[in-house]
Symmetry: C2
């Protein structure tokens, strides 16, 4: 039975960062761990955030989040949290830093080891509590600031998705001004992550019409603004809309995701390749849209309506054209993926949480064909 | 700054009533007041609901809710609540019974008098707490089961809207099967209430894109199903979709409403006329759509897209055609309203909470013209 539960308090606007100290006070966080990465520090965003905290506010900074967060990095941050008697987390950054911060809060509230929380192995029963988390996104893509998930590369090399309503941050502070300095390629790649969330979540068989509506609004907004934000990073309205599309994408994917994410996680877990999650989604999306169309005709019409496309227009081609416009690669081959790797990817795609909510059941052979098509 | 907060737990499906006893247990309600009306009792729905409660569950029934709930009825129910040491409310019925039940819970949690909570007079500062409420709609229109509002006719004859996130029921149980016996005219009138919520909320200047998306999904669903539900009340899928449109309409009107509701409340408060709120909305909607169009062109295009109408189609005419199809009156004149009453309505429309979020500022002269047009 559909049980519709909605999300968390989200302060959303240019300048929303001014809500930080009040949010820390309300959540009774006096010594937060700021989970972030070196790029955020170098861009001066950490300083901006510290400036938004009270003069006498103390904080411990963990800035070693890798490009895709690992269990190892989580454990290092968690030790820092414990050693300094922190009492909450500021998760500051893109999806990687926010997911790492949320995972530290999970360990702080429910103990370890991390692997025990694998939702596919009944791990959600072991989730007792989370330390309070204030999430501040610095990209517009992941939506982790309002999402119930984290994706972590575990010590055994698998990319594991944790998902539980308790993992939704206590407060999200979405300040699009923090993304004004994001370079075009990262704007494009993260933006395509948001757009993929809106599309994939809407196509799942999960019944949650409010989340459908939110996903379609996110797509409406993302589709009209991604190229603007890529071409002119200082376009404040486009930045606002892209951040909203990202937040809405995460509202939507409470319904789950699909084969794009299953495939993207299977490749993204390879630390030798170091590929960007959003870029992978952008490149894989057209193949999966062709695969899923049959049986989803009415939903495809609604996607077209949200995108302002005429009835019957090929969605996969429309995404390919957008990818070309915003500088995304044409295929996985360009990104350093070779066909001999596919055999390694397929079982990971099949084991991924997102695989379970694709509207059309994909077999190992289907995934093999999809990876080839996306090359 | 937009602060996006979302709503409550909503069990939604055919047979959702089975969630009632568990919900009472979780909310630690051992002696609920069931706030309902004689129509619900006569239709056998009260018995169905009692049957879904444990064998040894006790409940006190207040079934004197009038067609539009009054402060007097609220006080009578509240006395019953106190006299019987109740510890929570089951708000069972259409908008009137649910609003009455929610208002009793407000008095139980925050004390009286009721008038002190008028949000236009700073009353929200006095809201301390609510007794727990489990809301069970038996019509698809009001959405009161997930909404933050109640509308009560006060002793002084004014129709007052109370609004506060604390007024959202603790749990909503939406079982479309409870609407299978709703007669065609009431199906049409309540359904038009839901459709009006989706449209008016979307048109407010309030910035809340997730709520926009939810409203458009509700409109998409309501527009395609209202005539089906009116023509064949046993169409379970249409009943499901209409109840969802109703719930989504209320999610959406966290953004506020507009001139349709301001006018509808101004007429609806007249107990000599005894007019149905949804019917009033249906009849008034076309005039307000004509009034609001300028400046809302992009939003009107999105409304048309949700309704599956071609670009540029006149929305007011489309609503008039729907009204005719489902048996709504052609105008207020047919309903017993005469032009000499308009002078009485206008100040009430101007004083209504919904007036403040209409996209175009309406003056007294505008309202006069709008009432005349709706005659």
């Amino acid at each position: 039975m559909p049980t519709l539960t909605f999300l968390t308090t989200c302060h959303f606007d240019h300048g929303a960062l001014e809500k930080l100290q009040g949010s820390l006070d309300r959540k009774q966080i006096s010594k937060p761990l700021i989970a972030t990465d070196k790029g955020i520090v170098a861009a001066g965003i950490l300083d901006t955030v510290r400036g938004a905290m009270g003069d006498d506010a103390s904080a411990i900074v963990f800035d070693e989040t890798p490009g895709n967060p690992t269990e190892r990095a989580v454990m290092a941050a968690f030790r820092m949290y414990q050693d300094n008697d922190c009492d909450g987390v500021i998760a500051l950054g893109g999806g990687s830093a926010m997911d790492l911060g949320k995972t530290v809060a999970l360990l702080a509230g429910s103990g370890g080891p991390l692997a025990q929380f694998d939702p596919l192995k009944g791990g959600n029963k072991l989730v007792k509590a989370m330390a309070p988390v204030i999430a501040i996104p610095t990209t517009s893509g992941t939506g982790s600031e309002v999402s119930l998930g984290m994706v972590i590369i575990m010590e055994d090399g698998c990319k594991l998705t944790f998902g539980n309503p308790k993992f939704i941050p206590s407060v999200a502070i979405c300040d699009p001004d923090l993304t004004l300095g994001l370079p075009p390629l990262l704007t494009a790649a993260t933006g395509m992550d948001a757009i993929t969330h809106c599309i994939e979540a809407f196509l799942t068989p999960t019944v949650n019409p409010p989340a459908d509506g939110i996903g379609l609004d996110g797509l409406w907004r993302g589709w009209r603004n991604i190229a603007k934000a890529v071409k002119d990073g200082s376009d404040k309205q486009a930045r606002w809309d892209m951040m909203m599309a990202s937040t809405e994408g995460a509202h939507a994917f409470t319904m789950g995701l699909g084969a794009v994410h299953a495939m993207s996680h299977a490749i993204g877990r390879r630390q030798d390749l170091r590929l960007h999650h959003g870029t992978l989604n952008a490149v894989i999306l057209p193949a999966v849209l062709r695969f899923n169309e049959k049986g989803c005709e009415e939903k495809y019409e609604r996607l077209r309506a949200a995108m302002g496309l005429k009835a019957g227009v090929d969605l996969a081609e429309a995404i390919e054209a957008l990818n070309a416009e915003i500088g995304m690669p044409k295929g996985l081959g360009e990104m350093g993926v070779s066909e001999d790797m596919i055999a390694d990817f397929v079982p990971h795609a099949l084991a991924d949480l997102a695989h379970r909510t694709n509207p059309r059941v994909a077999t190992a052979e289907d995934y093999e064909a999809l990876f080839k098509e996306a090359m």
